[in-house]
């Protein structure tokens, strides 16, 4: 479904060329829970942004259903993200002047009864009684749950979660990951984290070190696959 072929992301830092990630060969299958594990600064988030179309690889390709994302215009890539993908970011980004319910509604595009779905999503995530509250009236864990509900809107084909538990305590972090796993339906879940305990139940885990899918972690844990750096 989503495939990276020799994808690399190069940026310039004070005239110096730095690879956020390079020569990535990776495939995300339908319904798969893929964990991307790596230390801070290893390029996990950059890889996630490339896979989700938020960043365009400077070399190589990212294909979605065989279509190179780089060949799509900004508008088509945006539409792809809104209609087929869901996102949970490291920080619970919500619009401060919208209620929890309204923030969740933003997660899906125009047609269909978004409101009913948003209400259902929030209720299933235990926020049925707080859906009309503004973000500042919610706790950090609740805000991240709202973000999860937003990501689940429209039953996306893939959910990209970038360290969704980083700003939460351990218990809340696990709760959020469990919700993502359980509520995603048939959609794939690609989750980036530096905490291996958050990837319990992942179908596959790859590691990233210095921008490369590395073999070092293979030995560290069964089921963790090396990449092709």
């Amino acid at each position: 479904m989503i495939e990276a072929r020799g994808a690399a992301l190069l940026y310039h830092d004070h005239g110096r060329e730095v690879y956020a990630c390079r020569d990535i060969g990776l495939r995300v299958s339908e319904g798969e829970f893929l964990g991307i594990l790596g230390p801070s600064g290893s390029g996990k988030s950059s890889l996630l942004y490339m896979l989700s179309g938020l960043k365009t690889p400077t070399s190589g390709q990212v294909l979605v259903d065989g279509i190179d994302l780089a060949s799509l215009g900004d508008e088509a890539r945006s539409r792809l993200r809104l209609e087929r993908f869901g996102f949970v970011f490291q920080h619970p980004h919500l619009l401060g002047y919208l209620t929890a319910l309204e923030n969740v509604v933003l997660g899906a595009s125009g047609s269909g009864d978004r409101l009913v779905e948003a209400e259902n999503r929030l209720s299933r995530l235990g926020l049925g009684d707080k859906m009309h509250r503004l973000p500042h009236e919610l706790s950090g864990g609740e805000r991240q749950r709202v973000c999860v509900a937003r990501a689940l809107m429209g039953s996306p084909e893939a959910i990209f979660a970038d360290e969704p538990t980083a700003a939460l305590d351990h218990a809340n972090g696990h709760a959020v990951v469990d919700m993502l796993r359980q509520e995603r339906g048939g959609g794939a879940l690609v989750m980036v984290t530096h905490d291996p305990s958050m990837l319990d139940g992942a179908d596959r885990i790859v590691t990233l070190v210095d921008g490369c899918l590395g073999e070092a972690a293979v030995a560290a844990r069964p089921g963790i696959e090396p990449g092709t750096c």
Partner: protein
């Protein structure tokens, strides 16, 4: 009961609509009143200021046109250098006038003054024969007289209602007199009647002016039979007596002189208004830039979620449009209300002219929304040009 239920349903459906479309402009603008109100208030004040200034300046030529509007009804002709020319001129007019004439009046004229917001202006006090007084009042649309007509040969005057208001005169008040600055007469001429008409007029008996006023020149007032023909008659008189021993007074000349007189003033006004619009636009652009900067996390998040640049641009532009057009319309309404109050409290009691619905004042405010909208659009566009949503979701920008 049914009404309450239908109201409840309507409210629920409205709420549902707004919940289902949280990105509509009104949601942000109403829920961020602390930001919206200052923006709207600046526009309202700017529109109020500009339309107020223009309307007040426009009130000067409007006053000129209002005060001297009576001259639209006639052409005035005085002999030059030789008082004996009057019957000759009259004879020529009666023979050669290109339109049917209703009346040619022989009268005298002396001067008084009326007040305006920029000082005192001269105004003619006609000396009319008794039989011409009634005709003149009819022609000026008089609906009646509070008092009576001046008696033949007596030191008495009739004025119209706006003149009475302007000079604070009532029946028995002194209009002309030996110690009246700018309204001299050797005897005290008192008001005996106030005509109920919107036109400005003052007259005394012709015999009184012939006996007491200088110069001893009979003036001709020529009235076309049909008012629409008056302009044609005026134009003819101006051409026919050019270079002759006669001076012609027509309304069009007054209009032309007024326009010439105010041309420079309006040029200065254009510069002032342009500067004001520039200052306001810069201020608004700065405010909008600050507000847009504060909203970058919002734009970044929405773009990351999959809202297109075009959607976000049109949303930001829509919000700007609502603020600018709302502020402009509100500003016009407030300006109109204030001008109504100014007119009622300050202008009308002294018969000063002011048009709260001044078209020019309205037109002068148009650059405000246009310039602010352009500045707002430019600000938003420049913000979006090289905007990377990842910088927001990674919290590098916030």
């Amino acid at each position: 009961m049914a009404t309450r239920e239908s109201r409840r349903r309507l409210a629920t459906s409205k709420q549902t609509r707004s919940l289902a479309r949280p990105l509509v402009a009104s949601t942000f603008l109403f829920r961020n009143a602390g930001k919206t109100i200052p923006l709207v208030a600046v526009i309202v004040l700017a529109v109020m200021l500009i339309s107020g200034i223009v309307a007040m300046i426009d009130s000067i030529p409007l006053s000129i046109r209002t005060i001297y509007r009576y001259s639209q009804q006639m052409v005035g002709i005085t002999p030059r250098g030789d008082p004996a020319q009057t019957p000759i001129i009259r004879d020529r007019i009666e023979k050669e006038a290109p339109v049917p004439l209703e009346r040619v009046m022989v009268c005298r004229a002396t001067g008084a003054q009326v007040r305006s917001i920029v000082g005192k202006w001269p105004f003619v006090v006609l000396g009319l024969a008794r039989e011409d007084m009634t005709y003149y009042l009819d022609r000026m649309g008089s609906r009646g007289i509070n008092g009576r007509l001046p008696e033949t040969g007596k030191a008495e005057a009739l004025i119209s209602e706006p003149v009475a208001r302007n000079l604070g005169l009532r029946k028995g008040s002194l209009l002309l007199g030996p110690v009246q600055d700018g309204a001299y007469s050797p005897e005290e001429v008192r008001v005996v009647g106030i005509a109920d008409t919107d036109e400005w007029l003052m007259f005394t008996p012709i015999e009184y002016q012939r006996a007491h006023h200088f110069p001893p020149i009979d003036v001709l007032l020529v009235f076309a039979e049909n008012l629409p023909d008056q302009a044609k008659l005026d134009n003819w008189a101006v051409k026919a007596f050019k270079g002759e021993r006669a001076q012609v007074f027509v309304y069009q000349e007054l209009e032309r002189d007024t326009q010439d007189m105010f041309k420079i003033l309006y040029k200065i006004l254009n510069v002032v208004i342009a500067t004001l619009v520039l200052v306001i636009t810069l201020m608004m652009a700065m405010l909008m830039n600050i507000y847009q900067s504060q909203r970058l996390p919002e734009y970044g998040l929405l773009q990351a979620l999959g809202y297109t640049r075009r959607q976000l641009l049109s949303r930001a532009f829509g919000e700007t449009l609502v603020v600018v057009v709302g502020g402009w319309v509100l500003g016009l309404l407030v300006a109109y209300s204030l001008l109504l109050v100014v007119r009622a409290q300050l202008m009308t009691p002294q018969a000063f002219a002011l048009d709260p619905l001044d078209r020019m004042a309205f037109i002068y405010t148009i650059p405000i929304p246009v310039a602010i909208l352009a500045a707002g659009a430019l600000t938003v566009w420049s913000r979006f040009r090289r905007f990377d949503p990842v910088s927001v979701v990674e919290r590098r920008l916030v």
